[in-house]
Subunit: 201 residues, 2 copies
DNA sequence: GTCTATAAGAGGATAGAC
DNA sequence: GTCTATCCTCTTATAGAC
């Protein structure tokens, strides 16, 4: 943690604002539909200036995805600091958190389909490292919950992990929200319930 | 069923081939990444000819989505002809079917995000009518299963319906498939299990 | 209805002055 | 590093001959 000049602080603040805008736009319309012009307009700078900070649209998106993973890691840190009793409760907390972020319009869309974004992310070691770290931390809780009989032991941990990740981009959340008939808390409670207890209960 | 001239048969066959190609490309890369040039190339005709059949890219996609709903209706018809014992078994059959179509690369991506496709589909009465019909037919089975205690009665039918629809574009399927470690049957069985029984079981 | 050729415009990226 | 102005490619859509 060396001294940081005023100029560098301004630069970091600007880059933070850029990533914020990208994050919001990725959540709102996804990578393909997001344009660099929009990002520049939202930040309030010229597009050429944007390209001085991030060399391509893909790098913009990668920065936003990395930021999202950092937020996830920070949430996991909090859970570690004052952990719920059981492993499955920790996993439920994570799912709840991803849905709150989603409802806040701040969850960048995952590259489920084979998209240009996916290729770009696979080329970012920084992103892959963080994704691996988050996956492994969740993996510990998953196997722990399976040992305790809170998660079906017959399911491969990989499947459980993917299922939890998928909740971060679950279209059901948006559909229920769009119907306008239920509170956010109710929606989240239902989705946590269907995720862990299923439709049959 | 009036007489159909040979010319009209050829025309219908061509349009069928076009919709097939669109369906495949929508499943592979989604609406935004799919280009009309690709469609024309895959069908083997000039782009201008394509536009004689379908006036815009949106109408191309709408035709593919309508086709997909027609296939769904046909599957529901089959279920009605020789129905499984319980309502929930019928719903599981539907989920299994959507996953088989998905694994075959023939499930066009649903417009979960606010996309150009979504707007176009909302403008297609034909699409909306079919979507409504499929929803209502599933809705009957959902409420029936709830009465019989096979689906949680506390869940709004709307939520159950959305959850089932979401399985048609579940990224978990693709991720498990990509891992290459499991058979299609195993993957489908797991996802049906997590959908209805949850992770906790 | 099919083709070739091209219009029209969006969007990613850069040049060059300051 | 920021700006304005511009380039260039890709993509949707159409014109016009056959």
């Amino acid at each position: 943690m060396g001294k940081i000049s005023f100029k560098e602080q301004v630069l970091q603040a600007r880059e933070h604002a850029i990533v914020d805008a990208v994050n919001r736009l990725l959540a709102e319309k996804g990578f393909d539909a997001m344009t660099v012009d929009e990002v520049a307009a939202e930040v309030g700078i010229a597009k050429a200036s944007l390209y001085k900070h991030f060399g391509s649209k893909e790098k913009l998106a990668a920065a936003a995805m990395i930021r999202a993973l950092e937020r996830a890691q920070a949430f996991l840190d909090n859970l570690d600091a004052s952990p719920p009793a059981s492993a499955v409760e920790r996993l439920k907390s994570v799912v709840r958190w991803t849905m709150e972020v989603q409802l806040a319009g701040e969850m960048p869309a995952l590259p489920a389909q084979n998209s240009a974004l996916r290729a770009a992310l696979l080329g970012s070691q920084d992103y892959l490292d963080r994704l691996m770290t988050v996956s492994e931390r969740l993996g510990v809780w998953i196997t722990e919950a399976q040992k305790q009989g809170q998660i079906q032991a017959a399911l491969p941990p990989e499947l459980v992990l993917y299922t939890l990740f998928a909740r971060a981009c679950d279209p059901v959340l948006g559909m229920l929200k769009a119907s306008g008939q239920h509170s956010n808390e109710q929606i989240i409670a239902w989705l946590v319930s269907t995720t862990f207890d299923g439709l049959s209960g």
